[in-house]
């Protein structure tokens, strides 16, 4: 009988413990952003492409231009409200001369994209014009803005979904850039 009693206590303790663990787990899950997808391209080379420049159709860019430099590729579009919020940061950032800033105009109308650049300012070293969105698919883009950090070997090191501002840049991008500069 006493054996049964102790078994009963054990079962009750176990159930209570299980409940507490599950509760904490679910509570932790509430704070997670489950819509954010990790990029599949981390530590893989940037996709191959041949895409015209937004400002000049005759200039064709390829992924080979990423080699030898640290590059940020910022996906933007005139139809994307958050891009208007993010854009002033690139103005502040453009004084940063050791990292190339490439724009990727994603699924936009040329006229509207040019208007955006004219009104908000052009801080990109060059801008890819991806009207069909096919380059975006190659990068695994699922919205705008997104920003990719590419190292000197042309490998994608990080993908940020959402607005990049001073805080995000300082806390996430800068440590990674420093790592790349040190040869990691």
């Amino acid at each position: 009988m006493t054996e049964k009693k102790s078994q009963n206590i054990m079962l009750k303790t176990f159930s209570l413990l299980l409940f507490v663990v599950v509760f904490i787990w679910f509570y932790w899950l509430i704070g997670q952003d489950k819509t954010e997808l990790p990029s599949q391209l981390i530590d893989s080379p940037a996709p191959n492409f041949k895409v015209p420049d937004l400002l000049d159709d005759e200039v064709i860019h390829t992924e080979k231009e990423f080699i030898g430099k640290i590059t940020l590729v910022n996906i933007w579009a005139s139809w994307c409200p958050s891009c208007y919020v993010e854009h002033p940061f690139w103005k502040e950032y453009s004084s940063n001369k050791d990292i190339v800033l490439v724009g990727l105009n994603y699924r936009d109308k040329k006229q509207k994209a040019l208007e955006f650049i004219r009104e908000q300012g052009n801080y990109y070293d060059w801008t890819l014009f991806d009207e069909s969105g096919r380059l975006g698919i190659e990068f695994g883009v699922y919205g705008a803005p997104e920003t990719f950090l590419i190292d000197r070997n042309g490998k994608i090191r990080y993908r940020h979904v959402g607005v990049v501002d001073r805080k995000v840049y300082k806390e996430i991008f800068l440590p990674l850039v420093e790592k790349i500069k040190q040869g990691f």
């Binding site: 819509t35 997808l37 599949q40 069909s132 969105g133 698919i137 695994g140 919205g143």
Partner: protein, 139 residues
């Protein structure tokens, strides 16, 4: 008077027709050479998840990204790629997340195994309880 009313009515109708905007259906029509190809397209767009609107499949979503991805599936089918090649293409870009029916891997083996584990644990407890109960009854 009757005639005037009729004329006014006709003019009103003409004006209405004149200002009616043409309605452009936004349903995409994909043309296939064989019914098998169409069937494969249907299956693939049902199996693939829209990365933007994450609770919908490509077939059920009209977001621009879904339309683009559906077009990619269509073009690849026409180009003669296999279903696995198309699924791999999507997986390489968007991760396993894009498959509505995820494959078993090291990271999700527990998820696949959990129902079986639960059933075994349940039966073990049940058996134990039953045996105990039996003993008590016999007493």
């Amino acid at each position: 008077m009757h005639l005037v009313m009729r004329q006014i009515f006709l003019i009103a109708i003409s004006l209405l027709v004149l200002f009616t905007m043409p309605c452009f259906a936004t349903i995409d029509v994909y043309e296939f050479e064989t019914p098998e190809l169409e069937e494969r397209f249907k299956l693939l767009t049902h199996e693939l998840r829209c990365p933007k609107c994450q609770n919908q499949n490509l077939a059920g979503s009209n977001s621009t990204l879904s339309l683009d991805l559906k077009m990619v599936v269509y073009e690849k089918l026409i180009a003669g790629e296999t279903d696995q090649q198309i699924l791999d293409f999507m997986k390489q870009r968007y991760g396993e997340f894009i498959l509505f029916n995820p494959e078993m891997s090291q990271s999700n083996v527990l998820l696949w195994g959990a129902p079986f584990i639960f059933v075994v644990v349940f039966f073990a407890f049940f058996l134990r309880w039953y045996m105990n109960h039996k003993e008590v009854d016999n007493d």
